[in-house]
C-alpha cells in the first residue's frame, strides 16, 4: 500500500464533505419542525409577515402573540433569553396572525381578535400597554391622558418610556399615543410608519366618527 493509494481513498471520502445537501436537508428540517410543533415542543413560533410597512417579525407562544417587531435584529436571541430557547420558524402557527394583519392592512379589519401574551412586559409598563391596547382604532390619545388613565397623572415621561417599550407593535397600538403639542411624535418603527398607520386607520373608518360640534363653533 503506497501513500498515494492511501490519500486517494481519503480524498474520495473527503469529497463527501463537499456534497451540496441544501435541498434535502432543508426539506427534512422542515418536516422536523412540523413534527416538533405537533409534539408541542415549539415554545415560541416565529415568522416574517410582509406588510405595507415592511417585513414584520412576528412571534407567538401557546398563550398568544408575544412579539411583533419592525426590526428582526436580535429578536430571536431576546425571545430565547426571556421566554424559552425553543424558538423555531414555524409558518403554520402564524397563519391566524398573518390573516388578521392582512385584513387590517387592506381595511377589512378594525380590531384584532388574536390573544396577546404579555410575557415580555410587566408591572407599570404592562399597565400602560394594557391601557394602550384599549385605545379604539381611528382615535389617538396623548401621553398625559394615558398617564391619567393608569392613575399616575404626573408620570407622563414614564408613560412615554412604557409605550416605547411595547413588544407588540401595531396590535398593541402604541402608534395611537401622540404628543399633546401636535405631530405624530416618536415611534420605534420611525415616525413615517406611525403616520402611515394613523392615516390607514382614519381612512378605513367604516362608520365615520361624528364628533359633535361645540355649540359656540356652530354657524
Amino acid at each position: 500500500m503506497t501513500n498515494s493509494e492511501l490519500s486517494d481513498l481519503e480524498a474520495a471520502l473527503r469529497r463527501g464533505a463537499a456534497l451540496d445537501v441544501d435541498a434535502p436537508a432543508g426539506a427534512a428540517a422542515l418536516s422536523a419542525v412540523v413534527a416538533a410543533d405537533r409534539a408541542g415542543l415549539v415554545d415560541v413560533a416565529v415568522s416574517t409577515v410582509d406588510s405595507p410597512v415592511g417585513d414584520l417579525l412576528v412571534a407567538v407562544t401557546p398563550q398568544g402573540l408575544v412579539r411583533l417587531a419592525f426590526d428582526p435584529e436580535r429578536v430571536l436571541d431576546e425571545l430565547a433569553e426571556r421566554i424559552s430557547p425553543r424558538v423555531v420558524v414555524a409558518q403554520g402557527r402564524l397563519d391566524p396572525v398573518r390573516r388578521e394583519l392582512d385584513e387590517y392592512f387592506t381595511g377589512r379589519r378594525r380590531a384584532f381578535d388574536i390573544a396577546v401574551d404579555w410575557s415580555l412586559t410587566s408591572g407599570f409598563r404592562r399597565r400602560v400597554l394594557e391601557a394602550t391596547a384599549r385605545i379604539p382604532t381611528g382615535q389617538v390619545t396623548t401621553y398625559g391622558a394615558l398617564a391619567e388613565e393608569v392613575g399616575k397623572p404626573t408620570a407622563a415621561r414614564a408613560v412615554g418610556n412604557a409605550v416605547g417599550s411595547n413588544p407588540i407593535a401595531i396590535v398593541v397600538p402604541c402608534h395611537r399615543v401622540v404628543p399633546a403639542a401636535g405631530g405624530v411624535g416618536n415611534y420605534g418603527g420611525g415616525p413615517e410608519r406611525k403616520a402611515f398607520l394613523l392615516d390607514l386607520e382614519r381612512s378605513n373608518e367604516t362608520t365615520p366618527r361624528r364628533r359633535p360640534l361645540e355649540p359656540g363653533r356652530r354657524r
Partner: protein, 160 residues
C-alpha cells in the same frame, strides 16, 4: 454559555448533520434520521446547560439515530448493503461503490470514518461523540480505512 435560539442552532447544524447521516445510513433513511435527530434535540434543548459544543452534542444524537436505523434495517429482510445504492431524487451520492463499502463496515468504524472525513472532525471530537478515547477513535479510523482499502480497491480492480 446558554444555547442560542433553536432556529439558529438548526440552521447552523442542519447540513453537516444531514451529510453525516447520508453517509452513515444512506439517502433513504437520512431524511427520517435527520427529523428524529432534531426533534430529540429540541426536546432536550431547554435542559442543555452547556451550549459550548453543540456540534458534538447534535452529532451524538444523530449517531444514536443512525445506529437505530441500522438495527431496524437488520431486523427487516432487506439487505443493508442495498441502501446506499438507491439514489434519492434530491441528492446523488458520489462514488456509490465506496459508500456501499463504508455502509458495510462495523458500526464504530463506519461512524468514525464518516465523522473523521465527512464531518472533518479531530480524533478527540470523534471519540467524544462515539464515547470512546482519542486513541480508540484513531484506531477505528485506521481499521476502517484498512478494510475499505481492501474491499473497495478489490471492487475497483474488478471494475477495471
Amino acid at each position: 454559555m446558554s444555547p442560542p435560539p433553536f432556529q439558529t442552532f438548526l440552521e447552523h447544524h442542519r447540513d453537516p448533520v444531514y451529510r453525516f447521516l447520508l453517509f452513515s445510513v444512506g439517502p433513504d433513511a437520512a431524511d427520517d434520521c435527520l427529523q428524529e435527530t432534531f426533534v430529540a434535540a429540541l426536546r432536550a434543548y431547554p435542559r442543555l446547560e452547556d451550549g459550548s459544543n453543540l456540534r458534538a452534542w447534535v452529532l451524538t444524537i444523530a449517531h444514536r439515530k443512525a445506529i437505530d436505523a441500522h438495527r431496524g434495517r437488520a431486523r427487516r429482510p432487506v439487505p443493508s448493503a442495498e441502501l446506499p445504492e438507491q439514489p434519492s431524487p434530491a441528492v446523488t451520492v458520489p462514488d456509490p461503490g465506496l459508500w456501499k463499502a463504508v455502509g458495510e463496515l462495523p458500526p464504530k468504524q463506519r461512524a468514525a470514518i464518516v465523522l473523521r472525513f465527512v464531518s472533518d472532525l479531530p480524533f478527540r471530537e470523534v471519540g467524544r461523540i462515539l464515547d470512546i478515547s482519542d486513541a480508540a477513535a484513531r484506531q477505528n479510523v485506521r481499521e476502517g480505512l484498512a478494510r475499505l482499502r481492501k474491499e473497495y480497491a478489490d471492487d475497483e480492480q474488478r471494475a477495471v
